[in-house]
Every structure is written in structure tokens, then in C-alpha cells.
């Protein structure tokens, strides 16, 4: 069916393109902005929503200690394997959405204990990042990482385990916070919400999936990648009543009933919007997303098309109000400095920042937005900036304080900095000169490094 989209701003500035590249991806270099300006804003949005199918990754292969990555066997290689994709992929929105879906379907290798399965799930999220959510839900319901993570593989008709049934409703698809009713203008209704009975009945319907531990260790490569299978003997064939409907439901029916539930579309569209825009969707935008989504076979692309074109996406270009998640800060920082993966230190740095890929804190994912920032994590953002700048600064030669600031801004791809912040950096550059003149080679380098570090990990650098 036809989709409806908001109208993009008519005369966009470079700040519009910068906003688009930062929030629909991981930072904006001058060359990327130039490329998008040449396409125009509608063309840029269209390129993001229609991913390349070949030559997706551009740039040098990632290495650790000059060797190829070995994510299955080496600690931290899984994290930098994915960061590398964010840095090198031409499909920036796909990677950004893959990250959002990792947060929505939060699965931790702490519970799964199998990196092969984590990477497989990551591929699944990437494949459907702009695709059909209903197909993704079916796939992830029997994904080996998910079956281990939420006990689907342990559940049987004799002992149904409620873990996946509960979270597929509460967190993945339907939501449970009564505040959603007001936030969605009543499109999501508390009175339509699921009950503990629905969870229990869905848990019965979901029984049948098993995990072959022997094959997971000793099977063929395909069996090791996915040692799950369906067993009719452990499936509960009895009648179940879910959301008021009764039948001999299976896992496929649960997936169908959940996406057809009246609260699903408003919950999912509201949630997706929040990954890109810090203010809640207005009624018109929410209705447009819900309508596009329902009338186009649960297509995520038709929802993202509304978000990337909506005026709220381009609001407050002079005062960004979305916190950079730690992973976005690191991958974006590497792109700003035109650097690639050469070590695995990013894994522990990201853990300290509060967002280690493949290790969300629990099944509800990472608390987003300002919750990423506390006195401990911002100190780790600072460490990340320090690592980003390694080997990127040399003696700049003699510079006036003003030139020192503008050169530093340019060297880190002209990130957003407030007028107040820029003034304070100027004051630093002047004060440093006054206190230490004449500056020697080290002092000139130190001043550059400090200004670049403050641009990256000062308060303005944490926002996009």
C-alpha cells in the first residue's frame, strides 16, 4: 500500500546533512557531507534507506596487533569486529539500526556463552534492519542465541518456561509501561495490555524448540552455527487462549498474534523514534508511522522513512539534544579521525563507558539518552578520546591561539561545538600561550591535543 512521508526541509544547510549523517549513522566527515549535499537531502535520505548490495565495506581490513581478527577465539575481537563494520560500511543506517535492534532484542553473551551464535544473531539483525519486523521476529524467536538467552531451548510441554514469552511481550513487541498510553495519545492502550495468563499460555505455545549441545561442539560448521531443532514431542499441542483467541497455537502463532496485537505498532514505532529523536513523536508522526508499518507488511523502512524526514529530526541544530551512545561515540570518533581498527582496547573502553557490544546489561538493553552519562562513564568517554587521538597529533608549528582552535576543529572533522564552548577553548589557547610563551614543540603539540580532546569528549562532544 502507499506510504506517506513528511516533507523534508526545503533549503537545507550543511548542519542538516551533518545531523542526518550523525544520527542515521556514525559521524559526518567533510567528504561525506559534500557527497550528500550533491545528492540533495531527499537523495541523501533515499541513499540511506536503500542500502548498497556490493562493496559495502570500504577501507583497510581490521587488525589487532597486525593480525586478522579472530572473534570466535579472542577476547574483545567480537566488539571490534562490529565497530569495524560501523566505521567502514557504506550502509550507515543499516549499522545504526542493527545497533538499535541489538538494544531492542537485547541478548548478552554473558548468558549465551557462544560468540558464534552472537555473530549469527548480529547478521540476522543486520539482514532485517530495514526489512520486515514480523519476519525478524519469527527468525529471532528460534535464533540459537535467543533460545539459550531466554530459556526457549529449556522449555517443554511438561515445564513451560515463561522467560521468552514474557519478554517478547513486555520488552520486544508490546510494552507494559502504563505511561505509554498518554505518550502515544491513546494509540497504545493499557486496557488492551497482556496478562500473566497470556504469558503462561504463550509459553506453552512456544514449546518445541531444542538445542543439541553435542552438535554445538562437534557438528558440521552449519550445525555448530545453528544446533537448534524442533521437537514435536516436547511441544504442547493443547488448546491455548492468548489475547482472547483460542486455538492449538504454536510458536508461529505467537509471533503472528504479537505483531497483530493492537499495542504492537504504536509501541514499536514509538520505540524506534526514540533511538533517533530525543523528543516524543507528535500525534501525526506516530499515526503516519503506524499506518505505514501496518499497511506495508510490518516494514521497518517505512517507519524509518518517516523518522528521517520529520522536522523534529532536524530540530535544534544549534543545540543537539541526543546523547551519543558509547558505541556511536567510538565508531563515530574513528570515522571523524579517519582511523580504522588496529587494536582491541575498544572492548574494555566501551565496557567502562557502559556499552560493550554483545553484552547489554540485561534483557531490557541499555538505558538510552542521558542515562548513558554519569560521573564514571564520562571519565571513560574521556579515555576513549585519548585513545582516538593516539598518533594523530604532531607539532603543528607556530600557531596563533585562534589558529590553534580552528586547526583543531578541522582536524576532528568539525564536530558541533557551542558558541560558549568555542569561546572557552579560545580562552584556553590564549591562556596557555600567555603562561608558557614562547611555546616549544611539545607545548604546541600539547595545546593541539588538549583542544582536540576537549572537542571530542567535552560536554558538547557527547551530543549529536
Amino acid at each position: 500500500m502507499a506510504v506517506q512521508y513528511p516533507t523534508l526541509p526545503g533549503s537545507p544547510t550543511r548542519a542538516h546533512y551533518k545531523r542526518l549523517l550523525w544520527r542515521a549513522g556514525f559521524s559526518a566527515s567533510k567528504a561525506q557531507i559534500d557527497h550528500y549535499v550533491s545528492k540533495g537531502l531527499p537523495g541523501a535520505v533515499s541513499e540511506l534507506l536503500n542500502p548498497f548490495t556490493s562493496s559495502v565495506l570500504v577501507g583497510p581490513e581490521p587488525t589487532v596487533d597486525n593480525r586478522r581478527l579472530d572473534p570466535l577465539n579472542e577476547w574483545g575481537h567480537d566488539a571490534v569486529w562490529w565497530i569495524d563494520r560501523m566505521v567502514r560500511s557504506r550502509n550507515q543506517l543499516v549499522e545504526r539500526m542493527t545497533l538499535s535492534l541489538h538494544d531492542l532484542f537485547a541478548t548478552s553473551n554473558d548468558g549465551v556463552g557462544n560468540t558464534r551464535h552472537m555473530l549469527r544473531q548480529n547478521g540476522l539483525l543486520r539482514r532485517y534492519a530495514l526489512g520486515s519486523f514480523s519476519t525478524l521476529l519469527r527468525e529471532i524467536t528460534h535464533d540459537p542465541a535467543m533460545l539459550l538467552w531466554l530459556n526457549g531451548a529449556d522449555s517443554s510441554k511438561w515445564e513451560p518456561n515463561e522467560n521468552y514469552a514474557r519478554e517478547v511481550m513486555e520488552l520486544f513487541c508490546l510494552g507494559a509501561d502504563p505511561g505509554l498510553e498518554a505518550a502515544t495519545y491513546g494509540l497504545w492502550r493499557a486496557s488492551a495490555s497482556y496478562s500473566q495468563d497470556d504469558i503462561h499460555e504463550a509459553a506453552r505455545a512456544l514449546t518445541g524448540w531444542r538445542y543439541d549441545w553435542n552438535k554445538s561442539q562437534n557438528g558440521t560448521p552449519a550445525e555448530r552455527a545453528n544446533p537448534t531443532y524442533y521437537s514435536t514431542t516436547v511441544h504442547d499441542t493443547g488448546l491455548k487462549t492468548i489475547f482472547g483467541q483460542t486455538g492449538r497455537f504454536t510458536w508461529e502463532d505467537v509471533c503472528r498474534l504479537v505483531v497483530q496485537h493492537p499495542n504492537h505498532a504504536p509501541y514499536l514505532c514509538y520505540t524506534l523514534w526514540s533511538y533517533f529523536i530525543p523528543t516524543p513523536p507528535p500525534l501525526g508522526a506516530l499515526q503516519m508511522m503506524v499506518r505505514n508499518y501496518r499497511s506495508n507488511s510490518y516494514s521497518l523502512k517505512t517507519v524509518l522513512g518517516v523518522i528521517l524526514r520529520h522536522p523534529d529530526f532536524y530540530a535544534n541544530l544549534d543545540a543537539p539534544a541526543l546523547v551519543k551512545p558509547p558505541i556511536v561515540f567510538v565508531a563515530g570518533g574513528l570515522r571523524m579521525l579517519r582511523r580504522y581498527i588496529t587494536h582491541r582496547d575498544w572492548a574494555w573502553i566501551l565496557a567502562g563507558m557502559g556499552q560493550q557490544p554483545f553484552y547489554p546489561p540485561n534483557v531490557s538493553g541499555w538505558q538510552q539518552g542521558p542515562a548513558f552519562l554519569n560521573t564514571n562513564t564520562v571519565r571513560a568517554y574521556w579515555t576513549a578520546a585519548d585513545y582516538l587521538l593516539v598518533n594523530t597529533v604532531s607539532d603543528p608549528g607556530t600557531q596563533t591561539p585562534d589558529v590553534a582552535v580552528s586547526a583543531a576543529v578541522k582536524a576532528v572533522a568539525s564536530p558541533w561545538v557551542s558558541a560558549d564552548g568555542r569561546g572557552k577553548l579560545q580562552a584556553y589557547a590564549q591562556g596557555f600561550e600567555a603562561d608558557h610563551a614562547p611555546l616549544d614543540a611539545h607545548e604546541r603539540l600539547e595545546r593541539q591535543r588538549v583542544i582536540r580532546g576537549l572537542l571530542l569528549a567535552g560536554p558538547d562532544g557527547l551530543l549529536h
Partner: protein, 461 residues
């Protein structure tokens, strides 16, 4: 690899060595002689300073800052009561932590838990000043037995809210908020800090963790997250000529009117982090008092907290989350077994650490989880339990009234709710009103909505 021709990673500039070594700097005479601000040398030394302090990145620290730290420590009263809150994330199984071992409850326990029942003969009796024959501790919970038998523990055996909704995220939010609000803007301890804390010291309310515990979310006064004191300072490679200019600029960048909540969060977090770095810079490292901690991160954080409390940096409320999760849907016996060893050992070591440092009379430690587990077990991974109601909470310290502090509703068939869960005789907010009123000496109504409806429990001696 080195396209710009530089290598600031391995600089050999002559001043690099100085900055790396951590200069030992004598305390200025003005401090030792107590010539200003009413601080005496005796105060300064008594509060934990030694004759020399190791100051990392000494160029960043003006004497004014060191002075300020010392003065702040000496000026802060040292008798203020403290609440430490320990969160067991995931819903600990109270019934296999504190096992009912008598009568109809024990019979039901054996029947309903074929996969994960514990043998009472291996479990640890509750002795000491207030013995109880009705329960025994998990066999690995030697630290709990030690604390209970010493008369330093109050047990709240079935605590939750009505009606229990079995969601991790709602239940945790309710406990942290101190009210039944699934998306609270403040936590109960955060509101206490807003009422009773100050505007200047983020360390007054501290998550000794990587993320902020929701209980500590405040509206006005600053709070802190600190996972390691050693990592608190703001250094940067190749910056040694004027680190203080860098840190000062960083701080000034945070001092502006914020245009939106995200900007305010960035400014508050970075400004707070710089303030903490300044406050901690003069403390040196913790004297080793050889408390019997094990080698886990939880115990490292507990020991750091005990030291910070004794170093008197102004802590009034602190939160920690245990290292591992408690969501025992499967393989519960092995998972919970290891946890019980480490958790109970860490809590017992923390108590003895506080005693060795002479601050144990100031601290009550509350241990809680967002709910209990289903009474009937399942067979997942050899035996597990689904979400239930009526969890177990513990209050620990010299100041608690020891014993079983509230009702256990029983687990025989007629005693359970329609879902086979424990009934809920005690609301979690009754713990809060007890601690806020009887321990902190403040009005619970300032913090807990409808506080009068949550009668305090006999937790505080």
C-alpha cells in the same frame, strides 16, 4: 602505521617521566600547623592523611585543592548515619537462600521443589542472640550465618508490593523509586539527598558501580558513580606542561545554562567527575586492613566503599549491584551456589572492614532483590524457577535489631496466591520508612509518598 610522522604514544620528552611517576609532595606547613580555616594538624592526621601524600599528576593540583580536600574532611561530622543498598539483580530465590525447614512449609518445599531442594542437614542454622529453628541458610552462605549469629542482621523474609506484577523492570523501578511508578524520575535515596544533602559534593550519594543505581536519581543535588578511585583523575597522553589548564577548561565547559536535558546531563556528569577527581586527588591509597574479602569485583568495590566511608569524603547513601544476575530460570543450584558464597563472604568482610576502620556504628547495609521466585520449580537446565513474589531482604549492621523482623506467610498449598507465589505480608516501603526514620533520623514522609501507610518494621535497634 605512523602517517603523520609523529609518535605521541611513546614520547620521550624529558618531562614525561616526571608526570608518570606520581610525585611525592610534602603537605604544606600551613595545613599541618592549622593556621587557616580552623583546621588543626591533629584533625588532618586523624582523618587518615599521612605525612606525605602521593599526588598523581601533581601539576593539576593547586595547593588550594589539596587544602580544600583536607579541610572538607576535617570539617565533616563523623557520626552521620549511612545507608548502603545492595541490589541483587534478577530476582533472588529467597526460599533457597533462607530455607524453611520445619512443619508444613518444609513438606511443601520438598514436594514443590523436586529439582532444586536443599537438604536441611547441609544448611546452616540460625544461632546467636535470636536463634530461629524455622529456617536455615543455604549451605554456602557462611557469611550470612556469621552476621546473623553475631546479632548483626535483621531478616525480612517475604517482602514485595501489592499486587506483585512479576516484571523485572517494573519491580526494580518500584523498589528504586520508593513508589509504584514504572518510569520514575527520581529514586528514594535521590529524594533523600535532595532533602538532606548539599549542592556541592557528588560523593554524598554514590553508586560504587558503572551505572547509576535508579535509587540514587536526584532532582537537584549531585550524585556520583565511581567504579574505581584510581581511574578518577583526568589525565591525557602528552599533556604534562599544564594539565590543570586542561582540567580547568573542561570544568568551565560544563558551567553554562544548558539548552536541553541531554546537555544538562553532559554538563552535570562531567562537572561532577572533575569535582570528584579533585576531591579524591589528595587521599592517596587505602591502607590495607586485611578484611577477609575474596577476589571478586563486588568485593573490590565493597572494600573501596569501606575505605571511602572511613576517609570521610561525605558519603551518606551508597548503592552497589552484585556482579552476577539472580534470574535463575535454569541451572539454579550451581548458579546460586557460587553466588551465595561470594555474596555472603563479601558482606561479612565489609562488616568486619567497617569495624576495623572504626566506622561500623554509622552504617546499615540493606540487601534486596526485585522479587522472589515461584515456589514450584521447573526442570530447565537441571532445575530452575520462574518469577515469583515475596522476596527476601536483609538489613546488616551494628545498629540493626537482630532476628526475623517480619512475617513469613508460608508455602503450603493454602498459603500461596493463585499463581503459586508467596503472599506478600510486608511492603518494601516499610523497610524504607524504618531506615529513613529510625536510622537516618529524617521524616519518611519527605521521601516516600503516603509514608504513614507503611508502618516501620523493627529493623533498627
Amino acid at each position: 602505521m605512523n602517517s603523520c610522522g609523529c609518535n605521541d604514544w611513546k614520547s620521550t620528552h624529558r618531562r614525561a617521566m616526571l608526570a608518570r611517576q606520581g610525585q611525592r609532595v610534602p603537605i604544606p606547613r600551613a595545613v599541618l600547623d592549622g593556621e587557616t580555616a580552623g583546621i588543626s594538624r591533629r584533625d588532618f592526621l586523624r582523618n587518615g592523611a599521612v605525612a606525605f601524600m602521593t599526588v598523581y599528576g601533581a601539576s593539576a593540583l593547586s595547593w588550594g585543592r589539596i587544602w580544600e580536600t583536607a579541610a572538607a574532611r576535617a570539617a565533616t561530622p563523623v557520626t552521620d548515619p549511612i545507608i548502603v543498598s545492595i541490589f541483587l539483580d534478577g530476582g533472588n530465590d529467597g526460599l533457597n537462600t533462607l530455607v524453611p525447614v520445619t512443619g508444613a512449609d518444609y513438606a511443601a518445599y520438598v514436594t514443590k521443589r523436586p529439582h532444586i531442594k536443599l537438604d536441611p542437614d547441609n544448611c546452616l542454622p540460625l544461632a546467636g542472640p535470636v536463634p530461629s529453628a524455622d529456617f536455615r541458610w543455604h549451605p554456602n552462605a557462611a557469611g550470612f550465618k556469621q552476621l546473623y549469629d553475631a546479632g548483626k542482621m535483621a531478616v525480612i523474609p517475604a517482602v514485595d508490593y501489592q499486587p506483585p506484577d512479576l516484571s523485572h523492570f517494573h519491580s526494580r523501578a518500584f523498589w528504586q523509586a520508593g513508589k509504584l511508578d514504572p518510569s520514575p524520575s527520581t529514586g528514594w535515596l535521590g529524594r533523600w539527598v535532595d532533602q538532606n544533602g548539599g549542592a556541592a559534593n557528588p560523593l554524598q550519594a554514590i553508586s560504587v558501580d558503572w551505572t547509576l543505581d535508579g535509587s540514587l536519581k536526584s532532582a537537584t543535588n549531585p550524585v556520583a558513580v565511581l567504579s574505581s578511585t584510581e581511574d578518577a583523575q583526568f589525565g591525557m597522553r602528552n599533556v604534562w606542561t599544564d594539565q590543570s589548564a586542561m582540567v580547568g577548561t573542561l570544568e568551565s565547559l560544563t558551567q553554562r545554562p544548558a539548552a536541553n536535558p541531554a546537555m544538562a546531563a553532559a554538563d552535570d556528569a562531567l562537572g561532577g567527575a572533575v569535582s570528584i577527581a579533585n576531591r579524591l586527588s589528595g587521599l592517596g591509597s587505602s591502607p590495607d586492613l586485611a578484611a577477609p574479602y575474596g577476589d571478586t569485583d563486588f568485593e573490590r568495590r565493597m572494600s573501596m566503599l569501606a575505605w571511602l566511608i572511613s576517609a570521610n569524603v561525605g558519603i551518606r547513601v551508597a548503592c552497589l549491584s552484585f556482579d552476577d544476575g539472580f534470574d535463575f530460570h535454569d541451572a539454579q543450584l550451581s548458579r546460586q551456589g557460587g553466588i551465595m558464597t561470594r555474596l555472603s563472604r563479601g558482606l561479612a568482610a565489609f562488616q568486619s572492614d567497617l569495624e576495623a576502620r572504626g566506622v561500623a556504628d554509622r552504617v546499615i547495609t540493606l540487601v534486596w532483590s526485585e522479587f522472589g521466585r515461584r515456589v514450584e520449580d521447573n526442570d530447565s537446565g537441571g532445575g530452575g524457577t520462574d518469577h515469583g513474589a515475596g522476596g527476601l531482604a536483609l538489613a546488616i549492621g551494628n545498629g540493626v535489631r537482630p532476628g526475623i523482623a517480619s512475617e513469613f506467610p508460608g508455602i503450603a498449598d493454602g498459603d500461596l496466591d493463585e499463581w503459586g507465589n508467596l503472599k506478600v505480608p510486608t511492603d518494601y516501603r516499610q523497610i524504607y520508612t524504618s531506615l529513613l526514620g529510625d536510622w537516618m533520623g529524617t521524616d519518611p514522609a519527605d521521601v516516600i509518598p503516603d509514608a504513614a501507610g507503611f508502618a516501620p518494621l523493627p529493623l533498627v535497634a
